[in-house]
Amino acid sequence: MLPISTKETVRYVPSEYDSLAAEAAVKAADKVAKITPENATAEERAAATRALDAATAARAAVEQRLAESGGIPTYFLAVPSLRDRLAYRRALAATGARYATDAELLATMREGVNAVVAEDQRAILIDILDRFEGAPEAERAGEIADQVEEIGRVLRPAFAGYAELLADRQYWLEMAPLLAAQHFLRGWENAGATFKRTGNLAAEDCLRGIPERHLAEVGWKALALMGPPSKAAEKN
């Protein structure tokens, strides 16, 4: 993607029409299936086969969609300058959106455990949260992640502070890409509605005319063009 200039307009094709990405996914899954060793467990071999089947089916779906479509929906995005990024961040802050970090969520979960869980159970749960937080990011998966998820499920209805933080994060995850699309979309083709701008932004009524899933993807692409991905963007 780099080097890149603010004079360029980036073309973006939504993933459901992206045949190159679908082909790359099949090749990657095929490679994994081929290198799965002879002595791998039956479960591992079955998982590799399932992944390849899923990628192949997804590629077929993309090909069918392309054959049936009158034209490939393509969105045109501006490359944000430093000035544009500052204006975008100001606008995002003005919506009240904030991204609650994992560290904030875990700290609030500890508060919640101490507030609503029976005293004899607290130490076990706090230990799970400590081990999860202390683990490298790549190892925050499997059983320990399931346990933390379960603690979260218990706390959501019982501890308002945790539920509010989650709501903050969800709001940011929806607002940030939507606003980025509004700021940086410069046009589209084969997307249904007619593109128009109000002031410096893509008009809200024309954005309502394109598929919601496209809008979200386009917004995340605009965010990616703004700088290295944040933790939030990486997770999406």
Binding site: P3, I4, T6, V79, S81, L82
Partner: protein, 94 residues
Amino acid sequence: MAVAARPGHFEGGAEAADGSAWELFGERHETNPKLLLGQDEVEMVRLWRLTRGGDFGQGPMPEAGGVMDQAAIMLDAFAVMSAAEAELTRERER
């Protein structure tokens, strides 16, 4: 960055002649990292060097106008490259 700063460390083929590996920014590379580089990476290093200028101050920016007119992502990338260079310098001084 490392390949540009210390080209001599990456001469030769895909594997180190003495059977060792390349250690860069805390990561071990069994295959010569030079082979991962494409034209875009080479171009980024060239642009980064231009913007750094010399002893007499900042060099030209890639785009017309001032800092605020530059692509934000390019400025972020240059900052990462400068940090990498500083780390390489610290390593050399140790």
